[in-house]
Symmetry: C2
Subunit: 327 residues, 2 copies
Protein backbone atom coordinates (compact mmCIF):
# COMPACT_ATOMS: atom_id res chain seq x y z
CA UNK A 1 0.00 0.00 0.00
CA UNK A 2 1.62 3.28 -0.96
CA UNK A 3 1.63 6.20 1.44
CA UNK A 4 -1.17 8.07 -0.27
CA UNK A 5 -3.50 5.07 -0.38
CA UNK A 6 -2.69 4.35 3.26
CA UNK A 7 -3.65 7.86 4.38
CA UNK A 8 -6.82 7.71 2.25
CA UNK A 9 -7.87 4.42 3.90
CA UNK A 10 -7.07 5.85 7.33
CA UNK A 11 -9.34 8.83 6.57
CA UNK A 12 -12.03 6.58 5.10
CA UNK A 13 -12.31 4.46 8.26
CA UNK A 14 -12.59 7.57 10.43
CA UNK A 15 -15.14 9.24 8.14
CA UNK A 16 -17.40 6.18 8.28
CA UNK A 17 -17.10 5.53 12.03
CA UNK A 18 -20.01 6.74 14.20
CA UNK A 19 -18.01 6.12 17.38
CA UNK A 20 -14.25 6.16 17.97
CA UNK A 21 -12.08 5.28 20.99
CA UNK A 22 -8.65 6.88 21.21
CA UNK A 23 -5.71 5.40 23.15
CA UNK A 24 -2.42 6.97 24.31
CA UNK A 25 0.60 5.54 26.10
CA UNK A 26 1.60 5.01 29.74
CA UNK A 27 3.57 7.81 31.42
CA UNK A 28 1.68 10.21 29.16
CA UNK A 29 3.43 13.24 27.69
CA UNK A 30 2.34 16.38 25.85
CA UNK A 31 2.55 14.73 22.44
CA UNK A 32 0.42 11.65 23.08
CA UNK A 33 -2.22 13.53 25.09
CA UNK A 34 -2.30 16.66 22.92
CA UNK A 35 -2.52 14.64 19.69
CA UNK A 36 -5.16 12.27 21.05
CA UNK A 37 -7.34 15.12 22.37
CA UNK A 38 -6.98 17.17 19.17
CA UNK A 39 -8.06 14.27 16.96
CA UNK A 40 -10.93 13.38 19.30
CA UNK A 41 -12.25 16.96 19.52
CA UNK A 42 -12.04 17.25 15.73
CA UNK A 43 -13.98 13.99 15.29
CA UNK A 44 -16.65 15.32 17.65
CA UNK A 45 -16.99 18.40 15.45
CA UNK A 46 -17.74 15.92 12.66
CA UNK A 47 -20.62 14.56 14.76
CA UNK A 48 -18.97 11.41 16.05
CA UNK A 49 -19.06 9.97 19.54
CA UNK A 50 -15.55 9.92 21.03
CA UNK A 51 -13.93 8.19 24.02
CA UNK A 52 -10.43 8.92 25.37
CA UNK A 53 -8.30 6.36 27.21
CA UNK A 54 -4.99 6.51 29.02
CA UNK A 55 -3.79 3.93 31.59
CA UNK A 56 -2.38 6.71 33.85
CA UNK A 57 -3.54 9.99 35.33
CA UNK A 58 -2.89 13.20 33.37
CA UNK A 59 0.28 14.90 34.73
CA UNK A 60 -0.61 18.12 36.58
CA UNK A 61 1.21 20.36 34.07
CA UNK A 62 -0.95 18.96 31.24
CA UNK A 63 -4.31 19.25 32.99
CA UNK A 64 -4.83 22.58 31.18
CA UNK A 65 -5.18 20.72 27.87
CA UNK A 66 -8.74 21.24 26.62
CA UNK A 67 -10.65 17.97 27.02
CA UNK A 68 -8.09 16.38 29.36
CA UNK A 69 -10.66 15.91 32.16
CA UNK A 70 -12.50 13.52 29.84
CA UNK A 71 -9.61 11.07 29.58
CA UNK A 72 -10.64 7.85 31.31
CA UNK A 73 -8.45 5.26 33.04
CA UNK A 74 -11.16 2.67 32.34
CA UNK A 75 -11.07 0.78 29.04
CA UNK A 76 -14.13 1.59 26.93
CA UNK A 77 -16.79 -1.08 27.41
CA UNK A 78 -18.28 -1.94 24.99
CA UNK A 79 -15.42 -1.18 22.58
CA UNK A 80 -16.42 0.77 19.51
CA UNK A 81 -15.42 -0.75 16.18
CA UNK A 82 -12.89 1.97 15.44
CA UNK A 83 -9.85 2.32 17.71
CA UNK A 84 -7.10 4.91 17.19
CA UNK A 85 -3.73 4.44 18.89
CA UNK A 86 -1.70 7.63 19.17
CA UNK A 87 2.10 7.76 19.67
CA UNK A 88 2.27 4.05 20.63
CA UNK A 89 4.96 1.74 19.23
CA UNK A 90 2.95 -1.33 20.28
CA UNK A 91 -0.03 -2.43 22.41
CA UNK A 92 2.33 -2.89 25.37
CA UNK A 93 2.79 0.90 25.50
CA UNK A 94 -0.88 1.11 26.48
CA UNK A 95 -0.56 -1.83 28.92
CA UNK A 96 -2.75 -3.91 26.59
CA UNK A 97 -2.56 -7.42 25.17
CA UNK A 98 -3.88 -8.48 21.78
CA UNK A 99 -6.61 -10.34 23.67
CA UNK A 100 -7.82 -7.03 25.15
CA UNK A 101 -8.88 -5.88 21.68
CA UNK A 102 -12.18 -6.98 20.24
CA UNK A 103 -11.78 -9.19 17.14
CA UNK A 104 -14.16 -7.02 15.13
CA UNK A 105 -12.30 -3.77 15.78
CA UNK A 106 -10.36 -1.80 13.20
CA UNK A 107 -7.11 -0.54 14.71
CA UNK A 108 -5.72 2.72 13.34
CA UNK A 109 -2.10 3.29 14.39
CA UNK A 110 -0.76 6.86 14.19
CA UNK A 111 2.87 7.21 15.28
CA UNK A 112 6.28 8.74 14.58
CA UNK A 113 8.57 6.15 16.20
CA UNK A 114 10.83 4.31 13.78
CA UNK A 115 10.52 1.29 16.10
CA UNK A 116 6.72 1.15 15.65
CA UNK A 117 5.54 -2.48 15.45
CA UNK A 118 2.84 -1.83 12.82
CA UNK A 119 0.31 -3.57 15.07
CA UNK A 120 -2.69 -1.82 13.49
CA UNK A 121 -4.87 -2.65 10.52
CA UNK A 122 -3.76 0.67 9.04
CA UNK A 123 -0.43 2.02 10.21
CA UNK A 124 0.35 5.67 9.51
CA UNK A 125 3.91 5.83 10.84
CA UNK A 126 6.09 8.76 9.82
CA UNK A 127 9.48 8.82 11.57
CA UNK A 128 10.29 12.19 9.95
CA UNK A 129 7.70 13.93 12.12
CA UNK A 130 9.09 15.63 15.24
CA UNK A 131 5.84 14.82 17.03
CA UNK A 132 2.65 12.88 16.35
CA UNK A 133 1.14 16.36 16.67
CA UNK A 134 2.41 17.09 13.15
CA UNK A 135 0.60 14.03 11.79
CA UNK A 136 -2.52 14.83 13.81
CA UNK A 137 -2.71 18.34 12.31
CA UNK A 138 -2.28 16.91 8.81
CA UNK A 139 -4.95 14.30 9.56
CA UNK A 140 -7.43 16.89 10.85
CA UNK A 141 -6.77 19.12 7.83
CA UNK A 142 -7.41 16.19 5.51
CA UNK A 143 -10.62 15.29 7.36
CA UNK A 144 -11.71 18.88 6.74
CA UNK A 145 -12.70 19.43 10.37
CA UNK A 146 -12.65 22.97 11.72
CA UNK A 147 -9.66 23.62 14.00
CA UNK A 148 -10.75 25.79 16.92
CA UNK A 149 -8.43 27.21 19.58
CA UNK A 150 -8.93 24.16 21.86
CA UNK A 151 -7.74 21.81 19.13
CA UNK A 152 -4.90 24.18 18.20
CA UNK A 153 -3.78 24.39 21.85
CA UNK A 154 -3.62 20.58 22.03
CA UNK A 155 -1.67 20.32 18.77
CA UNK A 156 0.76 23.11 19.69
CA UNK A 157 1.46 21.41 23.04
CA UNK A 158 2.09 18.10 21.26
CA UNK A 159 4.63 19.67 18.90
CA UNK A 160 6.39 22.00 21.34
CA UNK A 161 6.94 19.24 23.93
CA UNK A 162 8.20 16.51 21.58
CA UNK A 163 10.45 18.86 19.60
CA UNK A 164 11.94 20.27 22.81
CA UNK A 165 10.73 23.79 21.98
CA UNK A 166 11.94 23.29 18.40
CA UNK A 167 15.48 22.61 19.67
CA UNK A 168 15.85 18.87 19.07
CA UNK A 169 17.34 17.50 15.88
CA UNK A 170 13.94 16.05 14.89
CA UNK A 171 12.64 19.59 14.21
CA UNK A 172 12.17 20.25 10.50
CA UNK A 173 10.98 23.07 8.26
CA UNK A 174 7.63 21.26 8.20
CA UNK A 175 7.47 21.41 12.02
CA UNK A 176 7.69 25.21 11.83
CA UNK A 177 5.23 25.47 8.92
CA UNK A 178 2.59 23.45 10.78
CA UNK A 179 3.23 25.47 13.94
CA UNK A 180 2.69 28.68 11.95
CA UNK A 181 -0.77 27.35 10.98
CA UNK A 182 -1.59 26.87 14.66
CA UNK A 183 -0.41 30.37 15.58
CA UNK A 184 -2.60 31.77 12.81
CA UNK A 185 -5.55 30.35 14.75
CA UNK A 186 -4.74 32.61 17.68
CA UNK A 187 -3.54 30.33 20.49
CA UNK A 188 -2.26 31.88 23.72
CA UNK A 189 1.46 31.07 23.47
CA UNK A 190 2.52 32.63 26.77
CA UNK A 191 -0.17 30.88 28.77
CA UNK A 192 0.52 27.50 27.12
CA UNK A 193 4.25 27.74 27.86
CA UNK A 194 3.54 28.83 31.43
CA UNK A 195 1.22 25.87 31.93
CA UNK A 196 3.62 23.31 30.50
CA UNK A 197 6.98 24.53 31.75
CA UNK A 198 6.43 26.70 34.85
CA UNK A 199 4.75 24.14 37.08
CA UNK A 200 7.78 22.67 38.82
CA UNK A 201 7.13 21.24 42.26
CA UNK A 202 9.25 22.94 44.93
CA UNK A 203 10.66 19.47 45.69
CA UNK A 204 12.10 19.34 42.15
CA UNK A 205 13.90 22.68 42.65
CA UNK A 206 15.32 21.33 45.92
CA UNK A 207 16.50 18.23 44.08
CA UNK A 208 18.33 20.49 41.62
CA UNK A 209 19.87 22.29 44.59
CA UNK A 210 21.19 19.01 46.07
CA UNK A 211 22.40 17.81 42.67
CA UNK A 212 24.36 21.06 42.17
CA UNK A 213 25.78 20.83 45.70
CA UNK A 214 27.32 17.50 44.65
CA UNK A 215 28.55 18.61 41.22
CA UNK A 216 32.02 17.29 40.36
CA UNK A 217 34.15 18.08 37.33
CA UNK A 218 36.51 15.41 36.00
CA UNK A 219 38.62 14.63 32.92
CA UNK A 220 40.03 18.15 32.67
CA UNK A 221 36.60 19.71 32.49
CA UNK A 222 35.12 17.34 29.92
CA UNK A 223 33.06 15.28 32.39
CA UNK A 224 30.51 16.78 34.79
CA UNK A 225 28.94 14.46 37.34
CA UNK A 226 26.12 14.96 39.83
CA UNK A 227 24.82 12.54 42.46
CA UNK A 228 21.52 12.27 44.27
CA UNK A 229 21.36 9.97 47.30
CA UNK A 230 18.28 8.41 48.88
CA UNK A 231 18.71 11.02 51.62
CA UNK A 232 18.52 13.82 49.02
CA UNK A 233 15.23 12.44 47.73
CA UNK A 234 13.89 12.12 51.28
CA UNK A 235 14.95 15.65 52.29
CA UNK A 236 13.50 17.20 49.13
CA UNK A 237 10.31 15.14 49.24
CA UNK A 238 10.72 14.50 45.50
CA UNK A 239 9.83 11.26 43.73
CA UNK A 240 12.57 9.61 41.65
CA UNK A 241 10.97 10.75 38.35
CA UNK A 242 11.50 14.40 39.26
CA UNK A 243 15.23 14.04 38.68
CA UNK A 244 14.42 13.74 34.96
CA UNK A 245 16.28 16.39 32.98
CA UNK A 246 18.52 17.61 35.83
CA UNK A 247 21.56 16.11 34.09
CA UNK A 248 21.20 18.83 31.43
CA UNK A 249 22.47 21.42 33.91
CA UNK A 250 25.76 19.50 34.01
CA UNK A 251 25.73 19.00 30.23
CA UNK A 252 25.37 22.73 29.56
CA UNK A 253 28.69 23.72 31.20
CA UNK A 254 31.25 25.08 28.74
CA UNK A 255 33.87 22.48 27.77
CA UNK A 256 31.78 19.54 29.01
CA UNK A 257 31.38 16.66 26.55
CA UNK A 258 29.86 14.07 28.90
CA UNK A 259 27.46 14.57 31.81
CA UNK A 260 26.29 11.99 34.33
CA UNK A 261 23.60 11.94 36.98
CA UNK A 262 23.97 9.09 39.46
CA UNK A 263 20.89 8.52 41.57
CA UNK A 264 20.35 6.10 44.38
CA UNK A 265 17.04 4.40 43.61
CA UNK A 266 17.52 1.98 46.51
CA UNK A 267 20.31 0.42 48.55
CA UNK A 268 22.83 -0.96 46.02
CA UNK A 269 20.68 0.26 43.13
CA UNK A 270 22.40 3.20 41.44
CA UNK A 271 20.86 4.48 38.23
CA UNK A 272 23.17 6.39 35.91
CA UNK A 273 21.84 8.82 33.30
CA UNK A 274 24.51 9.61 30.69
CA UNK A 275 24.50 12.46 28.18
CA UNK A 276 27.04 13.67 25.64
CA UNK A 277 27.19 16.82 23.57
CA UNK A 278 29.06 16.34 20.33
CA UNK A 279 30.87 13.06 19.81
CA UNK A 280 31.10 10.63 22.75
CA UNK A 281 28.97 7.52 22.23
CA UNK A 282 27.37 7.10 25.67
CA UNK A 283 25.22 4.24 24.39
CA UNK A 284 28.40 2.13 24.11
CA UNK A 285 29.45 3.11 27.63
CA UNK A 286 26.01 2.29 29.06
CA UNK A 287 26.03 -1.03 27.17
CA UNK A 288 29.36 -1.92 28.81
CA UNK A 289 27.52 -1.71 32.16
CA UNK A 290 24.46 -3.65 30.97
CA UNK A 291 22.37 -0.63 29.94
CA UNK A 292 21.78 1.16 26.66
CA UNK A 293 19.97 3.95 24.86
CA UNK A 294 21.01 6.41 22.18
CA UNK A 295 24.41 7.80 21.16
CA UNK A 296 23.89 11.07 23.06
CA UNK A 297 21.55 9.86 25.84
CA UNK A 298 21.77 6.49 27.59
CA UNK A 299 21.48 4.87 30.98
CA UNK A 300 22.54 1.90 33.09
CA UNK A 301 22.15 0.55 36.63
CA UNK A 302 24.91 -0.35 39.09
CA UNK A 303 24.33 -2.85 41.91
CA UNK A 304 27.10 -1.45 44.11
CA UNK A 305 27.44 1.38 46.63
CA UNK A 306 27.16 4.86 45.05
CA UNK A 307 30.85 5.66 45.62
CA UNK A 308 31.89 2.54 43.70
CA UNK A 309 29.48 3.34 40.86
CA UNK A 310 30.93 6.83 40.68
CA UNK A 311 34.47 5.46 40.50
CA UNK A 312 33.53 3.03 37.69
CA UNK A 313 31.75 5.61 35.57
CA UNK A 314 34.35 8.34 36.08
CA UNK A 315 37.22 6.06 35.13
CA UNK A 316 35.42 4.56 32.12
CA UNK A 317 34.19 7.85 30.68
CA UNK A 318 37.45 9.56 31.63
CA UNK A 319 39.38 6.96 29.62
CA UNK A 320 37.02 7.29 26.63
CA UNK A 321 37.42 11.07 26.69
CA UNK A 322 41.19 10.79 27.12
CA UNK A 323 41.72 8.60 24.09
CA UNK A 324 39.36 10.96 22.27
CA UNK A 325 37.30 8.37 20.47
CA UNK A 326 34.29 6.14 21.00
CA UNK A 327 34.42 2.83 22.81
CA UNK B 1 6.23 57.55 3.07
CA UNK B 2 4.17 54.37 3.05
CA UNK B 3 5.70 51.09 4.14
CA UNK B 4 6.21 49.77 0.67
CA UNK B 5 7.95 52.92 -0.62
CA UNK B 6 10.10 52.94 2.51
CA UNK B 7 11.31 49.37 1.96
CA UNK B 8 11.92 50.11 -1.74
CA UNK B 9 14.06 53.13 -0.87
CA UNK B 10 15.93 51.09 1.76
CA UNK B 11 16.70 48.47 -0.91
CA UNK B 12 17.62 51.11 -3.48
CA UNK B 13 20.26 52.71 -1.24
CA UNK B 14 21.81 49.31 -0.53
CA UNK B 15 21.76 48.23 -4.19
CA UNK B 16 23.62 51.38 -5.25
CA UNK B 17 26.19 51.37 -2.43
CA UNK B 18 29.65 50.04 -3.35
CA UNK B 19 30.67 49.97 0.32
CA UNK B 20 28.55 49.55 3.47
CA UNK B 21 29.35 49.75 7.19
CA UNK B 22 27.08 47.89 9.60
CA UNK B 23 26.60 48.79 13.27
CA UNK B 24 25.12 46.82 16.18
CA UNK B 25 24.48 47.69 19.82
CA UNK B 26 26.50 47.53 23.05
CA UNK B 27 26.19 44.34 25.13
CA UNK B 28 25.65 42.51 21.85
CA UNK B 29 23.17 39.64 21.65
CA UNK B 30 22.33 36.97 19.11
CA UNK B 31 19.82 39.12 17.27
CA UNK B 32 21.96 42.22 16.65
CA UNK B 33 25.08 40.22 15.75
CA UNK B 34 23.33 37.52 13.73
CA UNK B 35 21.24 40.04 11.78
CA UNK B 36 24.21 42.34 11.14
CA UNK B 37 26.43 39.48 9.94
CA UNK B 38 23.71 37.99 7.74
CA UNK B 39 23.03 41.28 5.97
CA UNK B 40 26.76 41.99 5.57
CA UNK B 41 27.55 38.53 4.16
CA UNK B 42 24.62 38.85 1.74
CA UNK B 43 25.83 42.28 0.58
CA UNK B 44 29.28 40.77 -0.03
CA UNK B 45 27.68 38.15 -2.25
CA UNK B 46 26.33 41.11 -4.23
CA UNK B 47 29.91 42.32 -4.74
CA UNK B 48 29.95 45.06 -2.12
CA UNK B 49 32.69 45.91 0.36
CA UNK B 50 31.40 45.43 3.92
CA UNK B 51 32.61 46.53 7.37
CA UNK B 52 31.19 45.32 10.69
CA UNK B 53 31.27 47.37 13.89
CA UNK B 54 30.33 46.67 17.51
CA UNK B 55 31.60 48.68 20.52
CA UNK B 56 32.09 45.47 22.57
CA UNK B 57 33.72 42.08 22.13
CA UNK B 58 31.62 39.21 20.77
CA UNK B 59 30.33 37.06 23.72
CA UNK B 60 32.04 33.67 23.77
CA UNK B 61 28.81 31.75 23.05
CA UNK B 62 28.31 33.75 19.83
CA UNK B 63 31.86 33.43 18.48
CA UNK B 64 30.64 30.50 16.35
CA UNK B 65 28.59 32.90 14.21
CA UNK B 66 30.05 32.86 10.69
CA UNK B 67 31.88 36.15 10.11
CA UNK B 68 31.98 37.14 13.81
CA UNK B 69 35.79 37.34 13.85
CA UNK B 70 35.53 40.21 11.37
CA UNK B 71 33.55 42.45 13.73
CA UNK B 72 35.76 45.41 14.64
CA UNK B 73 35.71 47.49 17.83
CA UNK B 74 37.23 50.38 15.81
CA UNK B 75 34.90 52.75 14.02
CA UNK B 76 35.35 52.54 10.23
CA UNK B 77 37.72 55.31 9.05
CA UNK B 78 37.02 56.66 6.50
CA UNK B 79 33.27 56.10 6.89
CA UNK B 80 31.55 54.75 3.81
CA UNK B 81 28.54 56.72 2.57
CA UNK B 82 26.09 53.99 3.50
CA UNK B 83 25.66 53.04 7.16
CA UNK B 84 23.24 50.38 8.39
CA UNK B 85 22.22 50.30 12.07
CA UNK B 86 20.82 46.97 13.20
CA UNK B 87 18.61 46.46 16.29
CA UNK B 88 19.46 49.94 17.68
CA UNK B 89 16.79 52.26 19.10
CA UNK B 90 19.13 55.27 18.85
CA UNK B 91 22.78 56.18 18.27
CA UNK B 92 23.40 55.97 22.01
CA UNK B 93 22.90 52.18 21.79
CA UNK B 94 26.10 52.08 19.73
CA UNK B 95 27.87 54.55 22.06
CA UNK B 96 27.81 57.15 19.27
CA UNK B 97 26.88 60.84 19.07
CA UNK B 98 25.38 62.54 16.03
CA UNK B 99 28.74 64.26 15.60
CA UNK B 100 30.41 60.85 15.12
CA UNK B 101 28.51 60.36 11.86
CA UNK B 102 29.76 61.94 8.66
CA UNK B 103 27.39 64.61 7.28
CA UNK B 104 27.39 62.98 3.84
CA UNK B 105 26.36 59.52 5.09
CA UNK B 106 23.01 57.88 4.49
CA UNK B 107 21.82 56.15 7.66
CA UNK B 108 19.63 53.06 7.23
CA UNK B 109 17.91 52.07 10.47
CA UNK B 110 16.60 48.49 10.74
CA UNK B 111 14.92 47.69 14.05
CA UNK B 112 11.98 46.05 15.81
CA UNK B 113 11.79 48.15 19.01
CA UNK B 114 8.64 50.20 19.37
CA UNK B 115 10.76 52.79 21.19
CA UNK B 116 13.01 53.31 18.12
CA UNK B 117 13.93 56.99 17.73
CA UNK B 118 13.80 56.99 13.92
CA UNK B 119 17.28 58.52 13.83
CA UNK B 120 18.04 57.29 10.29
CA UNK B 121 17.39 58.77 6.88
CA UNK B 122 15.33 55.66 6.16
CA UNK B 123 13.81 53.88 9.15
CA UNK B 124 12.51 50.35 8.65
CA UNK B 125 11.06 49.71 12.09
CA UNK B 126 8.62 46.84 12.54
CA UNK B 127 7.60 46.24 16.15
CA UNK B 128 5.63 43.13 15.12
CA UNK B 129 8.85 41.25 14.36
CA UNK B 130 10.05 38.95 17.16
CA UNK B 131 13.63 39.69 16.09
CA UNK B 132 15.42 41.95 13.64
CA UNK B 133 16.45 38.60 12.16
CA UNK B 134 12.95 38.36 10.64
CA UNK B 135 13.40 41.74 8.93
CA UNK B 136 16.93 40.85 7.86
CA UNK B 137 15.71 37.67 6.14
CA UNK B 138 12.96 39.63 4.38
CA UNK B 139 15.52 42.27 3.35
CA UNK B 140 17.95 39.70 1.95
CA UNK B 141 15.14 37.95 0.07
CA UNK B 142 14.07 41.28 -1.44
CA UNK B 143 17.67 42.08 -2.41
CA UNK B 144 17.70 38.74 -4.22
CA UNK B 145 20.98 37.67 -2.64
CA UNK B 146 21.68 33.96 -2.30
CA UNK B 147 21.27 32.71 1.29
CA UNK B 148 24.00 30.18 2.06
CA UNK B 149 24.25 28.16 5.27
CA UNK B 150 26.49 30.80 6.92
CA UNK B 151 23.87 33.48 6.38
CA UNK B 152 21.07 31.11 7.44
CA UNK B 153 22.97 30.21 10.65
CA UNK B 154 23.27 33.90 11.53
CA UNK B 155 19.59 34.55 10.83
CA UNK B 156 18.42 31.48 12.75
CA UNK B 157 20.51 32.54 15.77
CA UNK B 158 19.02 36.04 15.60
CA UNK B 159 15.46 34.70 15.64
CA UNK B 160 15.88 31.87 18.16
CA UNK B 161 17.60 34.12 20.73
CA UNK B 162 15.23 37.10 20.57
CA UNK B 163 12.09 34.96 20.50
CA UNK B 164 13.33 32.90 23.48
CA UNK B 165 13.28 29.68 21.46
CA UNK B 166 9.88 30.70 20.07
CA UNK B 167 8.45 30.89 23.60
CA UNK B 168 8.03 34.64 24.09
CA UNK B 169 4.78 36.40 23.30
CA UNK B 170 6.49 38.25 20.41
CA UNK B 171 6.62 34.98 18.42
CA UNK B 172 4.17 34.97 15.50
CA UNK B 173 3.13 32.66 12.68
CA UNK B 174 5.49 34.71 10.48
CA UNK B 175 8.38 33.93 12.88
CA UNK B 176 7.81 30.22 12.28
CA UNK B 177 7.33 30.63 8.50
CA UNK B 178 10.63 32.49 8.14
CA UNK B 179 12.36 29.93 10.36
CA UNK B 180 11.04 27.15 8.11
CA UNK B 181 12.77 28.88 5.17
CA UNK B 182 16.06 28.79 7.09
CA UNK B 183 15.68 25.11 7.96
CA UNK B 184 15.04 24.37 4.28
CA UNK B 185 18.55 25.67 3.66
CA UNK B 186 20.00 22.89 5.81
CA UNK B 187 21.38 24.58 8.92
CA UNK B 188 22.77 22.41 11.74
CA UNK B 189 20.13 22.97 14.43
CA UNK B 190 21.70 20.79 17.12
CA UNK B 191 25.11 22.38 16.77
CA UNK B 192 23.69 25.94 16.76
CA UNK B 193 21.69 25.30 19.93
CA UNK B 194 24.69 23.68 21.60
CA UNK B 195 26.85 26.67 20.72
CA UNK B 196 24.36 29.25 21.97
CA UNK B 197 22.91 27.60 25.04
CA UNK B 198 25.37 24.97 26.33
CA UNK B 199 28.35 27.23 27.02
CA UNK B 200 27.66 28.15 30.61
CA UNK B 201 30.72 29.02 32.68
CA UNK B 202 31.10 26.73 35.70
CA UNK B 203 30.95 29.90 37.82
CA UNK B 204 27.40 30.52 36.57
CA UNK B 205 26.30 27.03 37.64
CA UNK B 206 27.84 27.69 41.07
CA UNK B 207 25.91 30.97 41.24
CA UNK B 208 22.70 29.02 40.57
CA UNK B 209 23.70 26.63 43.36
CA UNK B 210 24.13 29.50 45.86
CA UNK B 211 20.91 31.17 44.69
CA UNK B 212 18.98 27.92 45.25
CA UNK B 213 20.61 27.43 48.65
CA UNK B 214 19.05 30.77 49.66
CA UNK B 215 15.62 30.17 48.10
CA UNK B 216 12.73 31.35 50.29
CA UNK B 217 9.01 30.94 49.71
CA UNK B 218 6.64 33.61 51.01
CA UNK B 219 3.02 34.73 50.67
CA UNK B 220 1.60 31.22 50.90
CA UNK B 221 3.69 29.97 48.01
CA UNK B 222 3.00 32.85 45.63
CA UNK B 223 6.35 34.61 46.10
CA UNK B 224 9.72 32.91 45.58
CA UNK B 225 12.82 34.88 46.52
CA UNK B 226 16.52 34.18 46.02
CA UNK B 227 19.49 36.20 47.24
CA UNK B 228 23.10 36.41 46.06
CA UNK B 229 25.59 38.15 48.33
CA UNK B 230 28.96 39.65 47.39
CA UNK B 231 30.47 36.59 49.07
CA UNK B 232 28.48 34.29 46.74
CA UNK B 233 29.88 36.12 43.71
CA UNK B 234 33.39 35.93 45.13
CA UNK B 235 33.17 32.20 45.97
CA UNK B 236 31.72 31.34 42.55
CA UNK B 237 34.12 33.56 40.64
CA UNK B 238 31.15 34.82 38.58
CA UNK B 239 30.70 38.37 37.32
CA UNK B 240 27.45 40.13 38.23
CA UNK B 241 26.04 39.71 34.67
CA UNK B 242 26.08 35.92 35.06
CA UNK B 243 23.15 36.08 37.45
CA UNK B 244 20.98 37.08 34.44
CA UNK B 245 18.09 34.67 34.08
CA UNK B 246 18.57 32.82 37.39
CA UNK B 247 15.34 34.35 38.71
CA UNK B 248 13.44 32.17 36.22
CA UNK B 249 14.19 29.11 38.35
CA UNK B 250 12.18 30.73 41.14
CA UNK B 251 9.48 31.88 38.71
CA UNK B 252 8.96 28.35 37.37
CA UNK B 253 7.83 26.85 40.70
CA UNK B 254 4.20 25.74 40.72
CA UNK B 255 1.90 28.25 42.41
CA UNK B 256 4.44 31.09 42.22
CA UNK B 257 3.13 34.38 40.79
CA UNK B 258 6.07 36.63 41.69
CA UNK B 259 9.78 35.82 41.77
CA UNK B 260 12.61 38.01 43.03
CA UNK B 261 16.38 37.81 42.82
CA UNK B 262 18.15 40.17 45.21
CA UNK B 263 21.82 40.60 44.44
CA UNK B 264 24.43 42.53 46.32
CA UNK B 265 26.23 44.57 43.68
CA UNK B 266 28.20 46.45 46.36
CA UNK B 267 27.92 47.41 50.01
CA UNK B 268 24.48 49.01 50.42
CA UNK B 269 23.73 48.47 46.73
CA UNK B 270 21.11 45.74 46.37
CA UNK B 271 19.71 45.14 42.90
CA UNK B 272 16.31 43.49 42.73
CA UNK B 273 15.13 41.63 39.62
CA UNK B 274 11.36 41.10 39.71
CA UNK B 275 9.30 38.74 37.57
CA UNK B 276 5.64 37.79 37.53
CA UNK B 277 3.79 35.04 35.74
CA UNK B 278 0.17 35.93 35.05
CA UNK B 279 -1.18 39.10 36.61
CA UNK B 280 1.00 40.97 39.11
CA UNK B 281 2.30 44.27 37.71
CA UNK B 282 5.93 44.22 38.91
CA UNK B 283 6.67 47.41 36.97
CA UNK B 284 4.47 49.29 39.44
CA UNK B 285 6.23 47.65 42.39
CA UNK B 286 9.68 48.47 40.98
CA UNK B 287 8.55 52.04 40.31
CA UNK B 288 7.54 52.39 43.97
CA UNK B 289 11.22 51.76 44.81
CA UNK B 290 12.58 54.11 42.12
CA UNK B 291 13.03 51.46 39.41
CA UNK B 292 10.90 50.31 36.49
CA UNK B 293 10.61 48.00 33.51
CA UNK B 294 7.76 45.96 32.07
CA UNK B 295 4.59 44.52 33.64
CA UNK B 296 6.08 41.03 33.95
CA UNK B 297 9.81 41.91 34.31
CA UNK B 298 11.19 44.89 36.17
CA UNK B 299 13.97 45.93 38.51
CA UNK B 300 15.01 48.42 41.17
CA UNK B 301 17.97 49.18 43.45
CA UNK B 302 17.95 49.44 47.26
CA UNK B 303 20.60 51.46 49.13
CA UNK B 304 20.21 49.50 52.36
CA UNK B 305 21.61 46.24 53.80
CA UNK B 306 20.39 43.14 51.95
CA UNK B 307 18.24 41.97 54.89
CA UNK B 308 16.37 45.29 54.92
CA UNK B 309 15.88 45.17 51.15
CA UNK B 310 14.50 41.68 51.49
CA UNK B 311 12.06 42.76 54.18
CA UNK B 312 10.83 45.70 52.05
CA UNK B 313 10.29 43.67 48.91
CA UNK B 314 8.70 40.70 50.69
CA UNK B 315 6.22 42.89 52.55
CA UNK B 316 5.37 45.02 49.50
CA UNK B 317 4.91 42.12 47.09
CA UNK B 318 3.26 40.03 49.81
CA UNK B 319 0.68 42.79 50.31
CA UNK B 320 0.09 43.15 46.56
CA UNK B 321 -0.44 39.40 46.26
CA UNK B 322 -2.68 39.34 49.32
CA UNK B 323 -5.06 41.97 48.05
CA UNK B 324 -4.97 40.16 44.75
CA UNK B 325 -4.72 43.17 42.49
CA UNK B 326 -2.12 45.46 40.99
CA UNK B 327 -0.59 48.37 42.84
Amino acid sequence: MNENTLVQEFLEVLRKAPKVALFSHVSPDGDCLGSMLAIGLALEKMGKEVLFYNPNLVPSNLMFLPGSSRISQQLPDPQPETLVFVDCTDLGRVNLLTSDISKVSTILNLDHHISNQHFGHINWVDAQASAVGELALTLINLLGAEIDSDIATNLYTAIVTDSGCFQYGNTTAQTHRLTAELLDLGIDLVSIHHNIFDQKPLSQIKLLQYALNGLEIHAEGQLALMTLTLEDFQKSGAEQELSEGLVNHARSIVGVEAAVLLKEAGPLEIKAGLRSNLWLNVNEIATKFGGGGHNRAAGCTFRVPIEDAKQSIVSTIGEALRIGRNY
